[in-house]
C-alpha cells in the first residue's frame, strides 16, 4: 500500500473510530465481563448491534465486488488457547485491545502501561521467545477458509446477509419494540433532536447508536484497507518503526489516529485527565494483562477487533471460536479476581 494513502486513510479512519469508541465507552472487556459481574448488558448489546451491521455491510460490498472476504483458516488450538489467554489478559489489563488504546487517549496511564505490555507480548510471540509455542498451537489447521456454512464460496456473502438481517429483525423485535411501545404510551418523542450538538459531542452514546456507528466505521475501514482493521498489529507496527528501518504503515496509523480521535473526544466533553491508578500494583497487573493479550492475539491470529468485529461477521469458524473463548476467559478471570477480592474487603 502506498505510504501517503496509508497515512491519510489510516489517520482518518482511526480518528473517527477512536472518537466513537470514547463516546460509546465501547470496550469488549466491560461488555463481556459485566454480563456476569454486574448483570449489565448495554455494551454487550452494542457489540451485537455492531456485528449485524458489519455482516450486512461486508455482505453488500462483497456481493458488489468492492471487497474480497478473508475469513481466517480454522486453527482450533490457536483459537481456543489464544482466545482464553486473551480473555484473561483483558480483565487484568482493564481493557481489551481497542478499549486499552482509546483509554490512552483519555489520559489513563494504566492503559498506556497495558498497551506497552500488549506490544511486548505480541512481539515476543510473533518473533521472539514465545515464537515456538505459537507455532505449535497454530500447526493444526482444519479446512482452508472454513465458515459457519462450509468453505468460503460465492454463497458466503448471501449467508452473511441473511444472518445479519435476521439478527437485525430479532433485535428490533426484542430490544427496540418494548422501548418504542413504552415511549408511545407515555407520549414521549421517540428521538430527541433538540440538543443534537450536546448529545453528539458531550454525552456518552446510547448502546444502539454506538453499535451502528462502530459497524459503519469498520465497514469503511475494511473497504479502505482491503482487509480487517486490527489493533495489536498496529502497536507492533509502531514499535517496529522505532526499532527497525520499517516505516509505519496502515495498521500503525490506525492506532495513532485512534488515540488522537479519542483524545479530541475526551477533550471536548471534558473527560481528558492524566490518571494514574492509586496502587502501584494495579500497574503491574495491567502490564501483565497486556502481555497475556499480546500472546493471545498473535496466537489466535487477531485481537478482539480483528476476530470478533472482523472475522465473526464473515462467519469464520476460527473467529467465532476465538470470540467465544475470549468471552469465556474474561468470565473465568472476573470470577476469580472479583470473588477473591470480595472476601478480603
Amino acid at each position: 500500500m502506498d505510504f501517503w494513502y496509508a497515512l491519510v486513510a489510516g489517520l482518518i479512519i482511526g480518528a473517527i473510530f477512536g472518537f466513537i469508541l470514547q463516546r460509546g465507552r465501547f470496550c469488549m472487556n466491560s461488555a463481556f465481563r459485566d454480563i456476569i459481574l454486574l448483570k449489565e448488558f448495554k455494551l454487550a448489546k452494542a457489540v451485537a448491534v455492531s456485528l449485524v451491521v458489519l455482516m450486512v455491510g461486508f455482505a453488500i460490498f462483497a456481493l458488489s465486488g468492492v471487497i474480497g472476504l478473508t475469513p481466517k483458516p480454522f486453527k482450533p488450538w490457536s483459537a481456543i488457547v489464544g482466545g482464553l489467554v486473551f480473555g484473561v489478559g483483558m480483565v487484568l489489563a482493564a481493557g481489551c485491545a481497542s478499549g486499552t488504546t482509546y483509554r490512552v487517549g483519555e489520559g489513563m496511564m494504566g492503559s498506556f502501561v497495558a498497551a506497552l505490555g500488549l506490544t511486548a507480548g505480541a512481539l515476543w510471540t510473533g518473533f521472539g521467545i514465545l515464537d515456538t509455542a505459537k507455532d505449535i498451537l497454530q500447526s493444526v489447521t482444519v479446512g482452508t477458509k472454513l465458515t459457519l456454512f462450509g468453505e468460503l464460496s460465492a454463497l458466503t456473502p448471501w449467508f452473511m446477509l441473511i444472518v445479519g438481517i435476521v439478527g437485525i429483525v430479532l433485535m428490533l423485535v426484542f430490544w427496540s419494540l418494548p422501548t418504542i411501545r413504552r415511549k408511545v404510551k407515555a407520549k414521549e418523542p421517540l428521538i430527541k433532536f433538540e440538543n443534537f450538538k450536546e448529545s453528539t459531542f458531550k454525552k456518552g452514546y446510547p448502546w444502539w447508536v454506538t453499535g451502528i456507528l462502530i459497524g459503519l466505521i469498520l465497514t469503511a475501514g475494511y473497504i479502505v484497507s482491503k482487509g480487517v482493521v486490527g489493533i495489536t498489529g498496529g502497536w507492533m507496527d509502531i514499535s517496529l518503526w522505532f526499532t527497525s528501518t520499517d516505516s509505519v504503515m496502515w495498521a500503525g496509523f490506525i492506532i495513532i489516529g485512534l488515540i488522537f480521535g479519542s483524545f479530541i473526544s475526551a477533550l471536548i466533553s471534558g473527560e481528558f485527565k492524566f490518571r494514574v491508578p492509586k496502587e502501584g500494583f494495579t500497574l503491574v497487573k495491567q502490564f501483565l494483562g497486556g502481555l497475556l493479550m499480546g500472546f493471545g492475539a498473535v496466537t489466535a491470529m487477531g485481537c478482539n477487533i480483528t476476530n470478533i468485529l472482523g472475522g465473526v461477521p464473515q462467519l469464520s469458524i476460527h473467529s467465532i471460536i476465538t470470540g467465544a473463548c475470549i468471552m469465556f476467559g474474561a468470565w473465568i478471570a472476573a470470577f476469580f479476581l472479583f470473588s477473591m477480592w470480595k472476601k478480603d474487603k
Binding site: 466491560s30 449489565e40 482493564a94 456518552g204 471534558g270 485527565k273 490518571r275 491508578p277 492509586k278 474487603k345
Partner: protein, 77 residues
Amino acid sequence: MVDITETLDCTGEVCPYPDVKSKRKVKKMNSGEVLEILVDYPLSAERIPETMESLGHEVISVEKKGTSAWTILVKIK
C-alpha cells in the same frame, strides 16, 4: 442541603472497581442514609446512577466537578 452519611472515593480507579465498590457499599448501608461517590472514570459516572436506580435507590444528583470528575449522591431506599 443533604446530610452525607458516607463518602466513597473511587478516583483513579478503572472499571469495574467503582461500579462494584459502590454496589457493595450500598448493600451495607441503612435505609435513608446518603452515600457520596467520587469518580473520575466516565463510564462509571454514567453507569453507577443507572445501577443505583435499578437497585431501587434514589439518585439525588450527579454533578460534574471539573474535568472528568463527578460526584454522585445516592439515598438508600
